[in-house]
Amino acid sequence: MKRNTVVLGVVLLLLAVFAWAGWANWQYRKQEAEKRLAAAAAKAELVADDADIPHFVTPLMNKPAPDFTLEDVTGKKVSLDSYKGKAVLINFWATWCGPCKVETPWLVELRNQYADKGFEILGVSADDLDFDDKAKLVEEKHDIQKFAQQEHMQYPVLINGGSLDKPYAGLDALPTSYFVDRSGNVVAATLGLTSKDDIEGNIRKALGE
């Protein structure tokens, strides 16, 4: 009886030590993740949380989306400011980006589904443009237009997205999306291909649903 009590005591002690070690380990990883997130707040990048799941962290979160005016593929000027009152998805993409091509049909479908509620997509091409070579520039614009037609992108397709690299920090990789609410604030951002459900969830967030 006495021996069993001793064994039970030792086992309980061991369990307590293990539990403490686990808790301390979890706390440490949590603090490290918080530090990484804080350090990343100054620049946009993928940061792993304490469960090692990467999140796109951008200094634009919960701040007004920087205004811009870009030409669309037909030469018409389009500014973000003119969409105030609407929820907007600013989707940076490029013709050479495979994952962008995967998500484009989802974007087209979601745009059609939520347009009546006041939702619009601005597809901003990050393809390089050679402004010094007019013939090449025409060809490059034609390629973007061809891609947009092929993918049935019936929303505004803007060019020269590279010029937004500074205000929209973190365009190092594509696709990158910023979800802007009706007041013009960034409420969600993603880098890389996620899922249609994820995109829809962020659209609904931008719509205030």
């Binding site: 369990l15 993928l46 090692d52 990467p54 490029a94 495979g98 962008c100 990789a173 594509l174």
Partner: protein, 171 residues
């Protein structure tokens, strides 16, 4: 006695399970950081040769070796979609060396997890380009180029050109 041992065995097993559970890192399908390498540095590296000695004025075989960072892939020289950017090797004019021919390896089929129906033609890990170089007499420090466009499973980096430094001695 046997029953006590059995109880101890169960206790030890429980301890082991608790221990493993406590120390195991929480995982998720997205937790594998190798699938999200996009935020990190240059994804491609020229390996060798650093120096080659070839007979001047005649095409001579030189195989160039490259390494791609884990988690990344680049388009092969013959991607399956005209919008995708092929991997190409070039030598600047006036460098004393020219590329007579370049044979690129076939790309491996690759599909994005969220688009299993579309096959891409890519290089990953290591690959080599078999070239025939023609060198003029002398020592030429050639700053050759490799243009590529890299992606991981969910995102792509802009097209890039890296320098491929080769000391070509033509004698």
């Amino acid at each position: 006695m046997r029953s006590l041992c059995a109880r101890r065995t169960r206790t030890i097993s429980l301890c082991a399970i608790v221990t493993v559970s406590l120390f195991a890192k929480a995982q998720s399908p997205l937790a594998d950081s190798s699938t999200r390498t996009i935020a990190h540095g240059a994804p491609i590296e020229y390996l060798y040769p650093e120096q080659v000695t070839i007979a001047a004025g005649k095409p001579r075989p030189v195989t160039l070796h490259f390494r791609i960072a884990p988690g990344f892939h680049i388009n092969s020289h013959t991607p399956k979609d005209s919008f995708l950017i092929p991997t190409t090797f070039s030598v600047p004019e006036g460098s004393g060396v020219r590329v007579e021919s370049a044979h690129y390896p076939d790309g491996a089929d690759f599909t994005l997890p969220l688009d299993p129906d579309t096959k891409l033609s890519v290089y990953s890990d290591e690959f080599a380009i078999d070239t025939q170089l023609v060198a003029e007499h002398g020592n030429h420090l050639v700053q050759a180029s490799l243009r590529y466009q890299a992606c991981d499973k969910t995102a792509c980096l802009p097209p890039k050109t890296i320098t491929v430094p080769i000391d070509v001695i033509g004698n």
